[in-house]
Assembly symmetry: C2
Homo-oligomer: 171 residues x 2
């Protein structure tokens, strides 16, 4: 099951850190590709820097036309929105198809077309919070925690500790 994250509505100055967090969550929680709606070298560089140290994993690309991208995607198209169906009530159904997933994350101004183009509008609770949080919880529920045990083939690797930090570096 191949997972693509589509980040809509990235605004250069305001959203650099939020979009970077989205990319890092996508990478760490088992997604395969991040698609942005604008080219932002700083976001790409921040994610690539993590890839270089901790292991490559995430393909990044820019979509010329996001609506076409959604229409053309082969698999389940899922829009994360506080207005949608509570994840508690739909995640099992979404997981069991086993098809590739496109997970769409917007900001405040998602075109209304998105709501009708997708297969599922999913709410990580029906309260306002954070697109970063929504993506992480969605992927954690989709993979049922297994994504946090995935192996990364990086220069650095953490050995989990009850106290302090232990990092092995490979040269």
């Amino acid at each position: 099951m191949h997972i693509t994250i589509l980040r809509l509505g990235h605004r250069h100055m305001r959203d650099k850190r939020i979009s970077t967090h989205i990319g890092l969550v996508a990478r760490a929680f088992g997604a395969d590709k991040l698609v942005l709606d604008v080219r932002d070298p700083e976001v790409r560089d921040s994610i690539k820097k993590v890839d270089n140290e901790w292991g490559p994993s995430l393909e990044i690309e820019v979509a010329e036309d996001c609506m076409e991208y959604i229409k053309d995607f082969k698999g389940d198209r899922i829009h994360l929105t506080m207005y949608g169906i509570n994840i508690n009530d739909c995640i099992n159904e979404i997981r069991k198809t086993g098809r590739d997933k496109l997970v769409i994350i917007g900001g405040k101004k998602v075109p209304s077309e998105v709501y009708s183009l997708v297969d599922h509008n999913v709410a990580i609770g029906n309260q306002p919070h954070s697109e970063v949080a929504a993506l992480a919880v969605f992927l954690d529920r989709l993979f049922q925690g297994a994504e946090l045990e995935r192996k990364f083939d990086g220069r650095k690797k953490i050995i989990p500790q009850e106290r302090g930090k232990k990092v092995i570096e490979f040269f």
Copy 2:
């Protein structure tokens, strides 16, 4: 079980949006109190604005001395860090104590003292990603999804929809 979130290392300009996302996640995912290590009216105002529309829930305070705050806390003190024990291997033990929780979220420069002051250093996976994501997944696992069905007593309330948006406003 009363949940307090302690956000360490907030830097005014750089972290406003990230700290606001942390506050909104704390609010939406069932925490009771957010403690910041510096006074930042903008972060407080952003969270209070959501409280005013969607329902009050989160107490916000500033700690004069965070290390004392951690030492004095009565309950389980949990530090979220990529260097800790994978949440998959410790969440059941943490949940079953039923005691109040202090959940500590740092940035890059957490004093090493924190690692030894707490009862648990917990990793939401051992890869770098986002403090916002880490908090959301921790609370979602702690409450096993029940936090996303909590009722908020707000002016606005979403009626979950498969397509589009439905919001009831109370006056």
